[in-house]
C-alpha cells in the first residue's frame, strides 16, 4: 500500500519535477546559424532544443505547452562582463573584480568570487542575456581568471559552464592608476614579459627528468602555464593602437592565443590583427569616447565585420553609473552604424559562443543545443519592442 501511495504521489508530482516540454510558435525565428524561419516552431524537451523548423514541417505533440511569440532569438551571450564580481552597489564590499595588492595575479579564480545572487545578474537576464563570460576586470596587468556562467538562478556549481575560461589582462593607462608600479607603458610590458619568462622556466623545470629538480607548485605559474600551453586564451583589454600592438607582440613572443578586448582602435590595425589570428571582443557601442577610447568609432563592428574579422560585442566594465550596459542595446546601436542586421544578432550569440568555445551548447537555435531563448513582441533591436519571455535550459526565467 505504502508503495502504491508513493507511486501515485510520484506520478502527480512528475509534471512539476520534470523539465517542461514546450513548443514555441513564432512569426520569425532567428536561428542565427541558418536563415531566419518564418512561421516557425521550436520544440523543447528536457532543457534542449528538440526540433526547429517551419510550422508545416513540425507537428507539435499534444502534451507540449504551446507559447506564441512574434520573434525568437537565441539567448544572448555577453562576450565580456564583470557582472557578478562587480556589484551594483559599487561599494568596496561588492567590488571583487580587481585585486589591487599586486598587478599580476593570474591565480585569482572567478569561481571564488562570482555571486549568482547579484541584482545585476537578474537584471541582464531580463534583457535576454542567458550566458555571460564574466570574471576579473580591467585595470591590472593580469587581474585574474574569467569564467562562463548561465545567468539562471542557482548555486555557483549549477550555473557554471566553464570555470576557467581566460586570463584577464590589461595594458593601458588604467593600470598605472591602480598600482604604484608600473608607472609607465614600457614598465607594464617589461613586468608582463618578466613573469611570462618565469612561467616558461617553471614549465620547463616541471618536465625535468630528475623529479627532485622539479619546482614546488606555484599557483601563479600554474595559471600562466595554462596560457603558455594554449589551454586558455589571454583576454587582453587594449584600446589604443599602441596597446593593441603591444598585445600582439606579446602573443607572438610567448605564442599564446590572443583575444583583443575593448579594441577601440582595432579598425586601424586590421591587417595586423588578421595576420596574428587574434580574436576580437568589441567595447560597447555606447562607450564614452574618452581616455584610451577617445578615438573609438561606432562603426567599428561594421568595419571589422566587413574585413572578415569576427566581432563579439561586450558590455565590458563600468566604474560608475550605469554599472553595466545592456548587451541587446549595444548590438542594436551597432546595427544602426552599418553592422548588417543578422551580424548584429551573431555578435551577441554565435560569435561569442565560438570565441568562448561553447558553441556546441549555446549560441544558436539548433537541434540538440541548450534551450536558451528570448521571445520578443517585435524587432528585437527596436527601442519600443519588449522582451516577453526568457528561457534558460528549457525553463522560463524572466520576471515577465
Amino acid at each position: 500500500m505504502k508503495n502504491l501511495y508513493k507511486i501515485i504521489i510520484g506520478l502527480l508530482m512528475m509534471p512539476f519535477i520534470a523539465h517542461s516540454q514546450t513548443a514555441i510558435k513564432a512569426e520569425i525565428i532567428y536561428t542565427v546559424s541558418g536563415a531566419p524561419i518564418k512561421n516557425g516552431v521550436i520544440l523543447i524537451k528536457d532543457g534542449k532544443i528538440e526540433k526547429v523548423g517551419t510550422a508545416k514541417e513540425i507537428t507539435i505533440p499534444k502534451n507540449y505547452t504551446v507559447v506564441a511569440s512574434n520573434v525568437v532569438t537565441p539567448g544572448f551571450i555577453d562576450a565580456r562582463s564583470v557582472v557578478g564580481l562587480s556589484g551594483a552597489l559599487n561599494i568596496p564590499t561588492d567590488q571583487d573584480q580587481l585585486e589591487k595588492s599586486s598587478p599580476i595575479q593570474p591565480e585569482l579564480r572567478a569561481i571564488d568570487a562570482y555571486n549568482p545572487e547579484e541584482k545585476l545578474v537578474a537584471y541582464v537576464r531580463d534583457f535576454g542575456v542567458t550566458t555571460m563570460h564574466t570574471g576579473h576586470g580591467i585595470g591590472a596587468l593580469v587581474s585574474g581568471q574569467t569564467m562562463v556562467v548561465k545567468t539562471k538562478p542557482g548555486k555557483i556549481d549549477e550555473v557554471t559552464l566553464v570555470p576557467m575560461e581566460m586570463l584577464a589582462m590589461t595594458i593601458g593607462a588604467s593600470v598605472e592608476g591602480n598600482f604604484t608600479s608600473p608607472g609607465t607603458k614600457a614598465k607594464q610590458i617589461a613586468m608582463i614579459r618578466t613573469e611570462f619568462l618565469k612561467a616558461q622556466a617553471y614549465l620547463q623545470k616541471q618536465n625535468d627528468k630528475d623529479t627532485a629538480k622539479r619546482p614546488a607548485i606555484d599557483l601563479k605559474y600554474e595559471a600562466l602555464g595554462k596560457l603558455l600551453k594554449g589551454e586558455v586564451k589571454a583576454l587582453i583589454t587594449v584600446n589604443s593602437s599602441n596597446d593593441i600592438m603591444n598585445a600582439i607582440r606579446l602573443a607572438k613572443e610567448f605564442n599564446f592565443k590572443l583575444v583583443i578586448d575593448g579594441a577601440a582602435e582595432a579598425y586601424r590595425l586590421i591587417d595586423e590583427i588578421k595576420a596574428c589570428k587574434a580574436e576580437v571582443i568589441l567595447h560597447s557601442t555606447m562607450s564614452r569616447n574618452a581616455g584610451d577610447m577617445v578615438n573609438m568609432t561606432r562603426e567599428s563592428a561594421a568595419i571589422l565585420t566587413a574585413a572578415n574579422i569576427q566581432v563579439s560585442i561586450e558590455t565590458g566594465y563600468e566604474g560608475y553609473v550605469p554599472k553595466t550596459h545592456v548587451l541587446l542595446f549595444e548590438a542594436a546601436l551597432a546595427v544602426t552604424y552599418g553592422l548588417p542586421y543578422e551580424e548584429g544578432l551573431k555578435s551577441i550569440t554565435l560569435n561569442p559562443a565560438k570565441l568562448l568555445g561553447i558553441d556546441k551548447r549555446v549560441g544558436s537555435i539548433e537541434k540538440g543545443k541548450d534551450a536558451d531563448l528570448v521571445l520578443f513582441d517585435g524587432d528585437p533591436f527596436e527601442y519600443l519592442t519588449k522582451i516577453s519571455k526568457v528561457m534558460i535550459d528549457g525553463q522560463w526565467v524572466s520576471k515577465n
Partner: protein, 433 residues
C-alpha cells in the same frame, strides 16, 4: 550688474543679425510643433533666425522662399538638454562645499568639440552645470549651440534676464566629511539653510536701501546670485536621488520660497504625487542599469511615466558625460518603452526643458515668432533606425549628416574627439559617495 547684462544682450543680438534674409521653407514633413497637434504633410517656414509660420500643406509659402522638400521626414523643435557638462565646466571647487560665486561661464571652452556632439544628437539648447559633489557647486549657464568664438556667442538670456541657474545637490553626493564638507544629511541641510538665511538678510538690506545706493550693503559675490534665487529669478537645479533627499530638497525650496528643478530624481517614481503636489519640475536621466552608486539602486526607467502621469513637469537630460548627448532622444524612447506617453516624452525633450530654464517664450516648440531651432529626423523620433539628419539653430544649419565632417562627430573615429581628453568631467570623484 544690470550694465553687464545689457552688454551681454547687445553682444548676443549682434551675433544673431547675420541669419538668412530669404525665408526658408520645409514642405511635406510630419511636423511636431509640440504645443499643438502633429501636422502630417506640414510646412515650416523660417527667416532671420525665427520661425515665421508653421502649418499644413495649405500654408502659403513666400515667393522668394528657398524650398526644401522634407517628405517622409519628421521636423520637431531642437532638443533642450537641461543638464549637461559639455564644454569643460569643470567640477565644483573643493575649497568649499558651497560656491555660489563660481560660474561655469568662466570655465567653459566655447569652441569645444563636445558641442558638435550635442548638434549630432539634435540638441540646440543646453544647461551646462558645474559639477559635482558639492552642496552648491556654482552657477550654471544656458547656451545655444550657435557657431561661437567666445562665450558671449553662446549664452541665452532668459525671461528673468539671466543666463543660468544655480546648481545644488544633496544626498551622498556632497557628503565628503572633510575640508568643510558635510558628513551627514542633516548637516547638509543645515549648511544650505545657514547660507540661505544669510542671503535673506543680505536681500533685506538691499530691499531696505531701496534706491538709495549709499545704503546698499557691500557687494558680496557669494550672496548676490542667491538674492536672485530668493527673488525667483535664478532657478536652482537640485541634484537629488533618494526619496528622503527629494523630500528634503522640496522642504528647502518651500522654506526659502525659491524656484527649482529636481535633477536625476532616481526614486522619483516613489514620491511622484508628493513632487506633483509641490509643483517642482523634474529633469530626469535615463541610465542603462540601476546602481553604480547606492543612491541609484532603486532607479527605474518607469520614472518618466510615473512623474509625467502624476502631473509633474518632466524633462530629460544627458548629464553628459554620464550619458551621451547623441543619445538623448533615445533616452526619451526608453521612457516610452517603460510606459511613458509618446506625446509627453516629446514635450519632455523640448518645451518642458525650455520652461525649466525660463526660455519657453523663445524655444521648445515650433510656433511663429520663436527661435528657428529645429531638427529634421529621418523618421519616427522613437525608432532605433531614425537618425537626426539636420540640426538648425536660429535659422542656420549647424549639422548635416550628409556632410562627412559633421557625420564624423556622430560616428567618432581617429582624432575626431581628441580635444575632449582634457574637458571630460571626472565623475570618478563621486565613486563611493
Amino acid at each position: 550688474m544690470k550694465k553687464k547684462l545689457f552688454l551681454f544682450i547687445g553682444i548676443v543680438i549682434c551675433a544673431n543679425l547675420s541669419a538668412q534674409d530669404k525665408p526658408v521653407a520645409f514642405k511635406g514633413a510630419l511636423v511636431y510643433p509640440i504645443t499643438s497637434q502633429p501636422i502630417p504633410n506640414g510646412t515650416v517656414i523660417v527667416q532671420n533666425g525665427k520661425i515665421i509660420a508653421v502649418g499644413d500643406a495649405s500654408l502659403k509659402i513666400p515667393s522668394d522662399a528657398v524650398i526644401t522638400d522634407a517628405k517622409g521626414k519628421v521636423i520637431m523643435p531642437g532638443i533642450v538638454d537641461t543638464h549637461s557638462h559639455l564644454g569643460g565646466p569643470e567640477g565644483g571647487d573643493y575649497s568649499a562645499a558651497l560656491n555660489p560665486d563660481a560660474r561655469a561661464f568662466d570655465a567653459i571652452n566655447p569652441t569645444s568639440d563636445g558641442f558638435k556632439k550635442a548638434l549630432a544628437g539634435g540638441l540646440t539648447t543646453l544647461n551646462i552645470m558645474p559639477g559635482s559633489g558639492h552642496l552648491m557647486s556654482g552657477q550654471t549657464v544656458y547656451v545655444k549651440m550657435r557657431a561661437a568664438k567666445v562665450m558671449e556667442d553662446l549664452i541665452m538670456i532668459n525671461e528673468k534676464g539671466l543666463f543660468g541657474g544655480m546648481k545644488m545637490a544633496n544626498g551622498t553626493n556632497p557628503m565628503r566629511g572633510t575640508g568643510g564638507f558635510p558628513a551627514t544629511r542633516a548637516k547638509s541641510a543645515a549648511m544650505d539653510r545657514d547660507l540661505f538665511t544669510k542671503a535673506k538678510e543680505y536681500k533685506s538690506k538691499i530691499d531696505k536701501a531701496a534706491k538709495d545706493s549709499s545704503k546698499l550693503p557691500e557687494r558680496d559675490l557669494r550672496l548676490e546670485p542667491l538674492v536672485e534665487v530668493l527673488e525667483g529669478k535664478r532657478v536652482v537645479h537640485f541634484h537629488t536621488h533618494k526619496e528622503n533627499d527629494i523630500l528634503t530638497a522640496i522642504r528647502l525650496i518651500k522654506e526659502f520660497g525659491f524656484r527649482a528643478v529636481l535633477h536625476h530624481v532616481s526614486e522619483g517614481w516613489k514620491v511622484s504625487n508628493e513632487i506633483a503636489k509641490s509643483g517642482v519640475p523634474c529633469s530626469i536621466i535615463v541610465i542603462e542599469s540601476p546602481g553604480g552608486k547606492l543612491e541609484a539602486m532603486d532607479y527605474s526607467s518607469t520614472n518618466g511615466a510615473a512623474l509625467s502621469n502624476a502631473g509633474v513637469l518632466t524633462g530629460f537630460h544627458t548629464d553628459d558625460g554620464v550619458t551621451d548627448s547623441r543619445l538623448l532622444i533615445r533616452a526619451a524612447a526608453m521612457g516610452v518603452r517603460a510606459g511613458m506617453d509618446k506625446e509627453k516624452a516629446l514635450a519632455a525633450l523640448t518645451i518642458n526643458g525650455a520652461k525649466m530654464l525660463d526660455l519657453s517664450s523663445r524655444i521648445g516648440s515650433l510656433e511663429k515668432g520663436k527661435d528657428a531651432d529645429f531638427i529634421i529626423l529621418s523618421g519616427d523620433p522613437f525608432s532605433l533606425y531614425t537618425k537626426v539628419e539636420q540640426t538648425w539653430v536660429e535659422g542656420k544649419k549647424r549639422y548635416d549628416i550628409t556632410n562627412p565632417a559633421d557625420k564624423a562627430f556622430l560616428v567618432g573615429g581617429f582624432k575626431v574627439y581628441s580635444s575632449l581628453r582634457e574637458e571630460y568631467m571626472n565623475h570618478d570623484d563621486e565613486i563611493g559617495n
